[in-house]
């Protein structure tokens, strides 16, 4: 279901990154909620009131559940929920894996904010239209 403002869920164990990205997303006209870990997001997804983001931004390297694990869990719940990975590590293997698993994009930190917002919008649209094609990556 689409709404006026897309809702972005941001998952990163680094608090300042979360805060900065949330700020950025809100400034771009979208809503954002930040979670410190994948477990928090999963829990929130299953709790009331219902929480249904249009896109999830996932940090790859996180203590506990890493980004891939979170993606798997989300796919079980909602196969069409778009995921954008953000990471400081640049490993080709990780990128391949991420995209093969259906990620919309794989962004390397630090990234340009315009690119980031554009990626998010594309991801949201795809999710709304149900497409699974991979979006731009940087």
């Amino acid at each position: 279901m689409s709404r006026v403002k897309p809702l972005i869920a941001i998952v990163d164990d680094d608090e300042s990154v979360c805060r900065a990205l949330r700020r950025l997303v809100r400034l771009s006209g979208m809503d954002a909620e930040a979670f410190a870990s994948g477990a928090e997001l999963i829990e929130r997804l299953g709790a009331m009131p219902p929480f249904s983001p249009d896109c999830v931004v996932l940090d790859l390297q996180m203590p506990g559940m890493n980004g891939f694990e979170v993606q798997e869990r989300l796919a079980r719940v909602d196969r069409e929920l778009p995921v954008v990975f953000i990471t400081a590590h640049d490993e080709p293997a990780a990128r391949e894996r991420a995209l093969a698993a259906g990620a919309v994009a794989f962004l390397r930190k630090p990234f340009d904010q315009e690119l980031f917002i554009a990626t998010l919008r594309a991801a949201v649209n795809r999710g709304a239209s149900g497409e699974q094609a991979p979006g731009p990556s940087g």
Partner: protein
């Protein structure tokens, strides 16, 4: 003759074969029998015309008996002889009254008592034949007391009694006949009895030839006696010189056989003379009976006296010569068997004796060495000094000792130690020198070798006496301290120490000598010596006590450890470099995670700044939002700065510097450093720091490196463990009272037993692309801190690596490394 013979036999029988007590008991009747026999002999030669006998043996025999027995037994002999005297047949036949006989016996006894008592006193209680007659003084005493005085007194007493009792009228005639009869008997019979009793045992030792000679001589005396005294009276009148013919034989007996030969000869002559005179033969028959008797008696006395004195003199001389000869022989035997070289000189410095040892040593004859011949064997280089010492000492009558080389029989010159002392006669006259030399070549060689060893030793060696003066220094000592040897000998050893050590050293020295043992000097402290140019040199000193006859010394063996110290410093620098390389390597391993650490704040900063730009571009700009953003940017920047700081600390390359630090903060810093790496590896790190941990003395960088090494290893250990189980617990806590322990406990697979120690060896690694230096360097670092690094398997799973570092106070004394100045020279840290 038969009587005498019998008595001699009896005497021999009583000597030594039975016990003393039995002997004493037997001798009483023996003396009685002798008295009786003597009385019979005297009566046999009784001259009724003169009313007297030529000689009266009983008194002489009694005197001999009293001389030979202890005074406390004398009464026994007197008691035994009294009845004999009273009942002598002749006496009875003569019809003398009992009182007269008793008086006579009393006089006889008195004669014996006087003689025995006086001679006993003279000879200190042992009047034997040897003591009385082999000595001129004692012979003289015997003659005067026993042969003259005692008879004179006894005769006077008897004569007095006879006159006073009215039995006789003429005092002097009685005295005279008794006196001369007693004197003749005393001179001939008494010594003969003493000879028989005490001298016969000696006969056993006389060689047969001598006995034969003696026998022949006695036979000759007898023969001459018969010839002279047995001839008709007219022959003697025509040839008065005949009287002297026995004299040469008697003289020969005295000279050849001493008193022991003379006495029997005198007895023979006396007997022959008396016997023939009684038969009206010989030269003593031409006058009146009384005159004849007196002449005979005087003749016998006259030949006995001088011959006895002569015999005693000769015996004395002979004994003295024997003693001297024996002493000489003893000396010679001692000198020749002594294992040293003995020499003697006379008064004019010339040698008159060399012992067998000397002659064997030099291989020369006595004739060659006597006088100054011995000087030919002295080494030419030593001769002058040797002679000078000898002559100077000789002139000063002083002892001397000298060392010189003497040529041995094989031509080799050997060092000898020669000592000479002056010889003095008992009266203090200087007689010359006597000395003794010993071959000390071996000792000198040993000394030489010992000195060569000391001289060649690479260590400086000094010998210091109790007063602290250097008495010996080897070549290495000159090198180490820069002094010439003669600048060291005799100087106080403190001059080789820097000023600040001198005060204590004197006290240390005394304490050492009070309890000297072989030990290192300094008690573990660094010590320095002072060279001549006032520079200081780091040294190690070992002390050994040396005790000699000249006192106690200390031998100091000194090693200049400058090179070693520099090597140690170089090694330390090496280690530090290696540690640095290891840190760089670790940094490389952590690069990815460090990049991640930096990336997070950078991402946030970029995002925030761009957001802020957007906000500012809007109209109106939300400045509050911008301020918030900027605040976040500042925080993120600081965060990045911290990462850089930690990183910089990791790769720093300075020399280690020790200071008190908090291990807890070190551990926390390290954990932050590896945060991203932990995340990357899906490992959790828990930090437990005990509150109130005391500071430790150490280098922050190095300890951080070690903790980092342990943590990274812990992560590696768990890489095959399922992610949820990967946990590392890092603890910092007190161990005991003096150490702080940091441990990293993982939940990996643990370590094989052999690996527990092998891990710490250089180049040992279980990582595919690891250097293998991390743990060995870590251990070197911890050991340099005075601590310990080890690994052990946990009881449940995994392993724990831990290290300890001493708490700061315990480590205050020895700041290794802090005393280094950049030039690498040590400075004093006292």
């Amino acid at each position: 003759m038969p009587v005498l013979f019998a008595r001699r036999n009896l005497a021999r029988f009583s000597l030594g074969r039975v016990s003393a007590r039995t002997r004493a008991l037997l001798s009483v009747p023996l003396v009685g029998a002798g008295y009786y026999a003597g009385g019979m002999v005297g009566l046999a030669f009784w001259d009724p015309a003169s009313g007297s006998s030529i000689l009266w043996p009983p008194n002489a025999i009694l005197t001999a008996a009293l001389l030979l027995t202890p005074p406390r037994t004398w009464w026994l002999y007197l008691i035994a002889c009294l009845p004999v005297h009273l009942y002598l047949p002749a006496h009875a036949a003569l019809g003398d009254p009992l009182l007269v006989k008793i008086a006579e016996f009393a006089a006889n006894g008195l004669q014996g008592l006087i003689a025995a008592a006086a001679l006993r006193a003279f000879t200190d209680g042992s009047p034997r034949f040897e003591t009385l007659f082999h000595n001129l003084k004692c012979m003289t005493a015997f003659i005067i007391v026993a042969a003259l005085a005692a008879p004179a007194v006894a005769s006077a007493v008897a004569a007095y009694f006879f006159v006073v009792s009215g039995w006789r009228a003429d005092f002097w005639s009685i005295w005279q006949v008794r006196f001369f009869a007693d004197v003749v008997a005393a001179l001939t019979i008494t010594p003969f009895v003493l000879l028989v009793v005490s001298g016969l045992a000696a006969l056993r030792q006389v060689p047969a030839r001598r006995l034969a000679e003696f026998g022949l001589l006695m036979a000759a005396v007898w023969g001459i006696g018969i010839l002279v005294f047995g001839s008709e009276g007219r022959v003697a009148e025509r040839f008065p010189a005949l009287l002297y013919t026995p004299l040469p034989l008697l003289l020969w007996a005295a000279v050849r056989f001493g008193p022991a030969g003379l006495m029997p000869a005198l007895v023979i002559i006396a007997f022959v003379c008396v016997r023939h005179a009684f038969d009206r033969l010989g030269p003593f028959v031409s006058q009146s009976p009384a005159t004849n008797l007196l002449s005979l008696q005087i003749f016998l006395i006259a030949i006995s006296l001088p011959l006895m004195l002569l015999a005693a003199l000769i015996a004395e001389r002979r004994a003295r010569t024997l003693v001297l000869r024996e002493s000489e022989a003893r000396f010679r035997s001692l000198a020749d068997t002594a294992p040293v070289l003995i020499w003697m000189t006379d008064r004019d410095k010339r040698c008159n004796f060399f012992n067998k040892g000397w002659l064997d040593f030099t291989g020369r004859s006595l004739a060659q060495e006597l006088g100054d011949g011995w000087t030919e064997g002295v080494h030419p280089d030593d001769a002058e000094q040797c002679l000078r010492t000898y002559v100077n000492a000789f002139d000063a009558r002083r002892e001397f000792t000298m060392e010189y080389r003497l040529r041995r029989h094989d031509g080799e010159y050997r060092w000898v130690l020669d000592k000479g002392v002056p010889r003095l006669a008992p009266d203090g006259t200087f007689l010359g020198y006597i000395g003794c030399a010993d071959d000390i070549s071996e000792r000198k060689l040993a000394e030489e070798r010992a000195w060569q060893v000391v001289e060649a030793a690479p260590n400086a060696m000094l010998v210091v006496d109790q007063a602290g003066k250097i008495t010996l220094a080897n070549a290495a000592a000159e090198t180490v301290f820069g002094y010439a040897r003669d600048e060291l000998i005799g100087r106080p050893v403190e001059m080789l120490l820097p000023e600040r050590f001198r005060v204590h050293h004197a006290g240390d020295r005394e304490r050492y000598l009070a309890d000297p043992t072989a030990r290192a000097m300094g008690g573990g402290r660094e010590i320095f010596g002072r060279r001549k140019d006032a520079s200081e040199v780091p040294i190690e000193v070992g002390l050994t006590p040396v005790r000699t006859s000249e006192g106690s010394f200390a031998l100091a063996s000194i090693i200049d450890i400058t090179a070693r110290t520099e090597a140690e410093l170089a090694a330390q620098r090496h280690r530090a470099e290696l540690a640095h390389v290891a840190r760089i390597s670790t940094m490389g391993e952590l690069a990815a995670s460090l990049a991640h650490e930096l990336n997070q704040p950078l991402t946030a900063i970029l995002s925030n700044v761009q957001t802020a730009q957007h906000i500012l571009a809007a109209d109106p700009a939300d400045l509050d939002e911008v301020r918030e953003i900027l605040q976040d940017v500042v925080e993120d920047d600081k965060r990045a700065g911290e990462v850089i700081r930690r990183l910089r600390g990791l790769v720093r390359k300075e020399q280690p510097a020790f200071a008190p630090l908090d291990l807890g903060s070190v551990v926390r810093d390290v954990v932050l450093l590896v945060h991203s790496d932990a995340v990357l590896r899906n490992s959790r790190v828990t930090v437990e720091v005990s509150p109130g941990l005391p500071p430790v003395q150490g280098d922050r960088i190095e300890l951080q490196q070690v903790a980092l090494n342990l943590l990274v290893n812990a992560f590696d250990a768990m890489k095959d463990v399922p992610a949820p189980e990967r946990q590392v617990v890092v603890r910092a806590e007190l161990e005991g009272a003096r150490m702080v322990r940091v441990s990293a406990r993982d939940r990996g697979t643990g370590l094989a037993g052999a690996d527990l120690e092998r891990l710490f060896q250089p180049f040992y690694t279980t990582k595919r692309d690891g250097l293998g230096m991390g743990l060995s360097i870590s251990r070197a670092i911890i050991e340099a801190h005075g601590g310990r690094l080890w690994a052990q398997n946990n009881l449940d799973r995994g392993a724990t690596f831990a290290f300890t570092v001493p708490v700061a106070e315990a480590h205050a004394q020895r700041p290794v490394g802090s005393a280094l100045d950049p030039a690498g020279q040590r400075t004093n840290v006292q």
